[in-house]
Subunit: 277 residues, 2 copies
């Protein structure tokens, strides 16, 4: 069955269906499911047609297809000469993170983002995430930062791994669209940003100013903290200003990724980016 | 063990630890885990200390505690004369939705929200959700609408059940803070809103105006659609205007609850609600 379909692929290398759990590719994917495996190898994998299609060619290592890959997807899919491996349905299910996977995985190298990359965009517009733990929030922040035209996102060591399947899924390809610096130290980041004349703003429940009262046309970095605890005191203290979104009704706070989204789009509004649409 | 702790509760009725799956309270909770059971009985349940404490007294039916309820929680918890049932740890685990539950559940009646309730706030500010399927998004939209001071939220028949444990958890008590009308028909809602002179605005990728260019001090209703498909064409067509958030970077779209949050806070900004903080 699969080989008929695979004839329609532009593949350089199809070895036959892999069914053994001892296979080296299967074992690599199992390792890449865990952060430790991703850290050690510098690799990660993406699942699902939409996400896989968004991967830049220069980081692709190889593809893995499920034996019973969905017909619609495979039609004319260009693997661009990268190796292709076929997993039996059972093996694929073992590494796949999603129920609704279209039967395609791409293994790639982590895109290298240097701290310098995020200063390219002028005036600077940077998001700093401290200890964001929920993969959905993490991915959504990156997606919104991308949509709002931020120059980059900096994640502290305490953030969930950006290359985990759930983060990648909710970021919807945005990790490939803007530099994401990981494993940062919040204190060092603040010093660097300040030394470059960037206004550092902490989203904080004890903020005295709203973002509507701050000139966000200036070079800015917006700091958002952990879902339950917010920013660490020592981080917030070092930034130039605490800002707070007004709460009109009975809710005690906003979801972290929603609050971040509102702040990002206040920058967009003040900078008049919308005038171009 | 439990009875020592329970002595410290202000309880009217503690029958002893329920261990049988045949028990009527256990069977009711099992039914309430499913939408069908909630629809049939008009009841639902909340889990976790924070959420349980936010329930208004007039809708509480009874409490269920886990035998090994966490000590910190139980200290001085006032059950206000409502019945209390104690489940064995095994039984509790079977009905509990969260790993981190503090061992407390409250069964309550669905708060009755009438369409009329959402027009109380002037100028009107209403969120209409069509076919929102993700429980996290649904809860987050309600939480943000509450935070932003909306007069109410209207959900169409196609939305996920607002009384499902996951929606309740991400709404964080906001379902008790503002009227949420469920099971609505989008067409009928639009006619009603227009007849009351409320500006109906569809969040739509094909919108021509940004929210920054619309006078949101007017009575407004903002429509948000399904995560994958957006608003139905027949719904968007009937509204007064399609509005769109500008996308500056490479992302194709925004997360539904983030987009809704940005629009809600643009209403807050234009109406100057932040001047009061």
């Amino acid at each position: 069955m699969w080989y008929n379909k695979m004839d329609r692929l532009y593949c350089s290398e199809v070895e036959g269906v892999i069914e053994s759990r001892g296979n080296r590719i299967f074992r690599e994917l199992v390792r890449l499911r865990e952060k430790r495996g991703r850290d050690k190898s510098g690799l990660f994998f993406c699942e699902g047609e939409r996400l896989v299609r968004s991967i830049p060619e220069n980081i692709i290592k190889y593809y893995v297809f499920r034996e019973s890959v969905e017909d619609g997807f495979i039609e004319g899919f260009d693997t661009k000469g990268f190796p292709v491996y076929i997993f039996s349905d059972r093996l694929f299910r073992e590494v796949s993170d999603t129920v609704s996977s279209q039967g395609v995985i791409c293994v790639c190298e982590k895109p290298v983002a240097d701290m310098g990359d995020i200063f390219t965009k002028k005036p600077e517009f940077i998001i700093v995430c401290e200890d964001i733990q929920d993969p959905g929030n993490m991915g959504t922040v990156i997606r919104t930062a991308d949509a709002g035209g931020a120059g980059g996102v900096i994640l502290t060591k305490g953030c969930v791994d950006v290359y985990s399947p759930k983060v990648l899924r909710s970021a919807m390809g945005s990790v490939f669209n803007l530099p994401v610096v990981t494993g940062a130290d919040a204190g060092a980041v603040t010093e660097l940003l300040k030394s470059k004349g960037i206004l550092t703003l902490s989203a904080h429940l004890r903020g005295t100013l709203t973002p509507y009262e701050v000139n966000l046309k200036l070079p800015v970095a917006i700091y958002v903290g952990n879902e339950a605890n917010g920013l660490r005191a020592e981080t917030a203290e070092k930034t130039d200003m605490l800002i707070r979104l007004p709460i009109i009704g009975g809710a005690e706070s906003l979801n972290a990724s929603v609050a971040c989204g509102i702040l990002i789009y206040e920058v967009v509004r003040q900078r008049g980016g919308y005038e171009k649409i």
